[in-house]
């Protein structure tokens, strides 16, 4: 009698950075699609999803306060058993490079108590410097194809950061209509060596309902019901208006500011 040894599955935590301005059903769908895709390979077990709203220092046009964006994300994720919100990034005074957010969260994961099967034996509050390597969940960055494409925008990303993201962490990239992530990876000498660490998830049905679209609908007094988990928070506070969309007009996005003067 043979006992077939099941290959050990790698535990994965998915981290999504973004404006979430506001969070939409599409953002949350990304997590669901990513989890299904990774688990379908038989190699992974997705144990946690983290939404990390960007800080106000990002200075994107129309970006409203992080406190609201974080709260909306929390409300939206409430019904999920595995997706939650982390506001560490949003509470930083200045904008942070994505790779720094990844480093922070990996550190957090490593110093967490390990899961134990026996309740009560984990010592509360004790930090462990080193986790059993086979237990350590892999932190991967979850994004849309537009983020992958943005790797090509001059001055937006430091090459060494991209390298670190795709080698030390990993990328799960959900396609949107009109983009071709595989072709982009193929054409990039930086990404190509790490292609096995970049998981492209094809979304077969187009779903272009973006936060931009939602803000536009709100400005015009149109309904956004059923596009996001619950628009009540936004409606009660009248968060998105013509005025709010004018915030940070013509301001250079923080990443571009930071890298100003760097020449390829």
């Amino acid at each position: 009698m043979y006992f077939l040894q099941q290959p050990k599955k790698t535990k994965v935590v998915l981290l999504a950075c973004g404006s979430f301005n506001p969070i939409t059903n599409m953002h949350l769908r990304m997590f669901e699609l990513a989890r299904d895709h990774l688990e379908d390979t038989g190699q992974y077990e997705v144990v946690q999803g983290i939404l990390s709203p960007v800080g106000d220092g990002y200075e994107k046009k129309g970006l409203i306060e992080a406190s609201h964006r974080g709260e909306m994300a929390k409300l939206a994720a409430e019904s999920s058993s595995w997706i939650g919100v982390d506001t560490w990034e949003s509470r930083q005074a200045n904008w942070l490079e994505t790779v720094k957010v990844l480093r922070h969260h990996r550190q957090e994961l490593l110093s967490r108590e390990p899961d134990t099967d026996v309740v009560g034996t984990a010592k509360a509050g004790r930090k462990r410097k080193r986790m059993d390597a086979s237990n350590e969940p892999r932190l991967m960055l979850l994004c849309g194809a537009d983020m992958l494409d943005s790797f090509g925008v001059p001055g937006l990303w430091k090459p060494e950061d991209i390298e670190e993201i795709v080698s030390s962490y990993g990328l799960v990239c959900i396609t949107r209509g009109g983009s071709d992530p595989e072709a982009f990876i193929q054409g990039s000498d930086l990404l190509w060596p790490h292609r096995h660490n970049i998981h492209v998830v094809r979304e077969w049905v187009a779903n272009d309902v973006s936060a931009t679209h939602i803000r536009r609908a709100l400005r015009r007094g149109h309904s956004v019901r059923y596009l996001l988990p619950d628009p009540v928070y936004i409606q009660e506070r009248r968060l998105y208006t013509t005025e709010s969309e004018q915030r940070n007009p013509g301001v250079v996005l923080a990443p571009l500011q930071k890298h100003a003067g760097r020449h390829e």
Binding site: G177, A206, S210
Partner: protein, 261 residues
């Protein structure tokens, strides 16, 4: 001159109801309200009866229950099971006539201004009932044997359509290419949904068969119901596989003689 009170009726399989279906109502209401001529006072989801014979159709009691769960917090859209309870498939105009009758029966008479129908109060205009649909629906008028000409005439002439579609001019073309539709173009309201949102019930059933997540595409309460009753499986999709859609059978579409040679 006051706004015309308007009720939107959507007929369909709702197999299952999705966020996309509910979006149609929201988009249509905004559009009709912005014309300045209408006051949308209600919406009705009318799931088709089982005798429609469409592939993969699960029992009407489930489809009605799911729609009710989904629209629980809506505030203006309700589910009506009259059509689903009819012994045979009901032509769309018959359903429309039934609901208009009901609607008109609710209108307070001039002599009785105490009636608690606030939505109809204050308007001198009689309420109207229009069919809410997607662009694909307009193309069905061209399918031989699917519609009776006099029904199309009554549908667009007497009732009217509110048709929600992507910004791709498919609906405009359908109106242009049909003399009947063209004649009644002022009673056909084309609502643009500029962003693609193709997450249809078909896709959702496919995902469910494959054990994939459909969260955030339809309300949690509906997902829970589907799980509890194990509704959408490979087996359920085989229902009515070889059946002829009821409208085609009933309206005497010429059937292909068996080619035995």
């Amino acid at each position: 001159m006051g706004r015309i009170p308007l009720v939107l009726l959507a007929c369909g399989s709702f197999n299952p109801i999705t966020n996309q279906h509910m979006r149609l109502f929201e988009l249509a209401r905004d559009h009709m309200h912005h014309t300045g001529r209408f006051q949308v006072v209600g919406g009705i989801v009318s799931p088709v009866s089982d005798s429609y014979g469409k592939r993969g159709l699960v029992p009407a009691q489930h489809r009605v229950a799911m729609a009710r769960l989904a629209l629980h917090g809506s505030g203006w859209v309700t589910v009506d099971d009259w059509e689903s309870r009819q012994p045979d498939w009901t032509e769309t105009v018959v359903t429309l006539r039934h609901h208009l009758q009901k609607l008109l029966g609710q209108q307070p008479s001039a002599a009785d201004l105490q009636m608690p129908h606030s939505s109809l109060e204050g308007s001198s205009e009689p309420p109207q009932l229009k069919l809410l649909c997607g662009a694909d629906f307009l193309d069905t008028f061209r399918v031989p044997g699917l519609w009776r000409a006099e029904h199309v005439e009554e549908l667009v002439g007497r009732f009217g359509l509110v048709c929600v579609s992507r910004g791709d001019l498919q609906a405009d073309r359908a109106v242009h290419e049909s003399d009947t539709l063209f004649r009644h173009r002022h009673n056909i309201f084309l609502v643009r949904e500029w962003v693609r949102n193709e997450t249809s019930a078909t896709e959702i059933r496919r995902a469910l068969r494959r054990g994939l997540s459909v969260k955030y595409l339809l309300p949690d309460a509906v997902i829970d119901y589907v799980r509890e009753h194990q509704l959408y499986t490979w087996q359920s999709e085989q229902r009515n596989k070889d059946a002829v859609l009821r409208p085609l059978g009933q309206q005497g579409a010429p059937s292909e003689p068996l080619n035995d040679s």
